[in-house]
């Protein structure tokens, strides 16, 4: 039987667009779920992407990827590799699974929404593959930690985290609801696939896979590499969507969608990836600092894309660049102080050598952050463990839900009164996002709001940890049992005092 070349049949089989006669376009594509942005239905049919994969090819490729990933896991199952991993790296991957596994399913919901309500058949076709990708990513990132449960029970948080009121889980749910479960197809193509996947996670996963390999975690490296190859494909939904909006006079709206999600993505990235890169990853295996990674990969790519598409950098770009120098160091300190509220053991990452590395990568780190760690280390050596915990809640932002950290002396958080309620924001962009659409965000209660509303009982730190779903056995502790504090020679202490 003669076979046609793929180029001869692909567009015909994929582009099943037609004009509706028996129903209105708005019934098939309700604005709330689809958002035409005022672009006519037929114009959307010009939507195109470069991958052009067929279902047959997709299944074949994915089956091969699955075989490869599970073969590596089987080979390593009895190797005892996990026991030999660095404690900081263990913290990074236990945190990773809790953060990423469930959102992969939320992303599947998002992709499925684009697969149904995307405005062009080519787009819906790509989103179908995206849906299958995300289901696969969820399954993989449940299956792998599940196999390690006998080594570390807190791998259970891969599944558990999003079903709790742990504060970081609240922050992530807020973010992913905004981006995925409560978003329309057009906004999602830009915010999920262009901003977050193309902009952050695709590049991050490339680096993470390389870090894992250097650290000796071949299993995790293989897993992340396999996921990244899917992301590189389905993340292509954003750019053609953006191009259509820009070509049809909707540049300002496209820019607004980017500006909202770039900031939200950055805050979550700083909270979770910043500490893992600069504090948890073993010093000997760090390829570059978090800031260097951001500048060399994330910022360069965004700059190139903004230029190519005729878009502007987000209006808060200078503030974002300033935060690269300090925000994740502050958040790391907050995570470490609130370690009983985490499902992983944060690695302080401030041995003498590590402090020197931090100062070299972030000139001024000693003066700004080293002094805090000096006081903490002194308390540990004196046995004042209580003083290395925080006996009250940290204020959190009513947008990003992340602790409100101070960039400098005298910079207060921003506060807004809306419908008789005080909202606190960590930064001008978080306030700006809220004010774009207060009705969308106003009803959410932060962990602080819940505490003050009496949802948390008893209203003390033990009650807070129980509310967050953390039993004593699950609560985080210092990854190296404070060994770094006792290794610090007095000479080094004087140099940072």
């Amino acid at each position: 039987m003669p076979k046609l070349e793929r180029s001869e049949w692909y567009d015909l089989s994929r582009d099943m667009n037609w004009q509706f006669k028996y129903v209105r376009d708005t019934e098939v594509f309700p604005e709330a779920l689809s958002e035409s942005k005022g672009i006519p239905p037929k114009t959307w049919w010009n939507w195109d992407e470069p991958y052009k994969i067929s279902y047959r090819d997709y299944v074949k490729n994915q089956a091969e990827k699955e075989s490869g990933v599970y073969a590596v896991r089987s080979a390593l199952a009895r190797s005892g590799f996990f026991e030999n991993l660095d404690p900081g790296w263990k913290a990074a991957i236990i945190a990773h699974y809790g953060v990423f596994a469930m959102p992969e399913y939320l992303a599947a919901l998002g992709e499925a929404r684009m697969g149904r309500f995307g405005r062009a058949a080519a787009w819906r076709n790509m989103a179908l593959f995206g849906t299958l990708d995300e289901i696969r990513h969820g399954q993989l990132q449940f299956s792998f930690p599940h196999a390690l449960l006998n080594r570390e029970p807190r791998f259970d948080w891969a599944h558990k985290a999003f079903h709790t009121n742990q504060w970081a889980a609240i922050a992530l749910r807020h973010l992913f609801d905004d981006m995925l479960t409560a978003n329309d197809a057009v906004s999602m193509a830009i915010q999920l696939t262009f901003v977050i996947e193309t902009g952050f996670t695709n590049l991050h996963f490339l680096g993470l896979a390389a870090d894992a390999m250097k650290t000796g975690d071949v299993e995790f490296s293989t897993l992340i590499s396999s996921i990244q190859t899917d992301e590189a494909r389905h993340a292509q939904q954003g750019e053609p969507t953006l191009r259509l909006l820009i070509e049809h006079g909707k540049k300002a709206e496209a820019q607004r969608l980017i500006d909202v999600m770039f900031w939200r993505g950055w805050r979550a990235f700083a909270l979770l990836t910043g500490p893992a890169t600069d504090y948890y990853t073993p010093l000997a295996h760090r390829r570059q600092s978090f800031k260097e990674f951001m500048v060399e990969w994330i910022i360069k790519q965004f700059n190139d894309q903004f230029r190519d598409l005729g878009l502007e950098r987000p209006w808060y770009w200078d503030l974002f660049l300033q935060e690269l120098d300090w925000l994740h160091h502050a958040l790391h300190l907050g995570l470490w102080f609130k370690r009983p509220t985490l499902w992983w053991n944060p690695d302080a990452g401030v041995s003498v050598e590590e402090r020197e590395w931090l100062e070299a990568k972030y000139p001024g780190w000693h003066d700004r952050f080293g002094t805090y760690w000096h006081t903490i280390a002194e308390n540990l050596r004196l046995g004042n463990i209580d003083r290395t915990h925080q006996e009250t809640l940290l204020s959190v932002c009513n947008m990003c839900q992340i602790p409100v950290c101070s960039p400098a002396v005298g910079v207060p958080p921003r506060q807004v009164m809306h419908a008789g309620r005080v909202y606190t924001f960590c930064s001008e962009p978080c306030q700006w996002i809220f004010e774009q659409n207060p009705a969308r965000y106003a009803g959410h209660l932060s962990i602080i709001d819940r505490f003050l509303a009496g949802h948390i009982q008893p209203a003390d730190m033990a009650g807070v940890r129980a509310y967050m779903g953390l039993s004593p056995a699950e609560q985080g502790a210092d990854a190296t049992n404070y060994s770094w504090a006792f290794e610090l020679p007095q000479a080094a202490l004087k140099s940072v005092a």
Binding site: A330, L333, G334, F337, F369, T371, Y372, T375, I376, N379, N384, R387, T388, Q390, E391, T392, L393, L394, S395, P403, V404, C405, S406, V409, G410, P412, P413, Q415, V422, T424, I448, F451, L452
Partner: protein
């Protein structure tokens, strides 16, 4: 007597804290309650009095929360007043 939750930062610290005070607490007490969570944990003690600043104004040590009109969830900054070490 009513609990007033404050959002507070000790000058030089890295994060804003939720600190519960009483509306009858004087600024001296408020300062001590906030300092408890920061001094000797991340910042070293100093031989100087601690002041409370609200709405860009330093408040008298004997003024109460209610008298100062500080509302729930207000932001206050506390700091060592190095100009007045004698009264520490």
């Amino acid at each position: 007597m009513a609990v007033v939750p404050l959002q507070a930062v000790f000058r030089g610290d890295f994060v804003t804290l939720l600190v519960l005070v009483d509306d009858k607490d004087t600024m001296k007490v408020v300062a001590d309650k906030i300092a408890y969570h920061v001094i000797n944990r991340r910042l070293p003690p100093q031989n100087a009095p601690i002041r409370v600043q609200y709405n860009h104004r330093a408040l008298p040590p004997d003024q109460t929360v209610a008298q100062a009109g500080i509302l729930p969830l207000s932001f206050v900054e506390v700091y060592y007043d190095a100009r007045d070490r004698r009264h520490a």
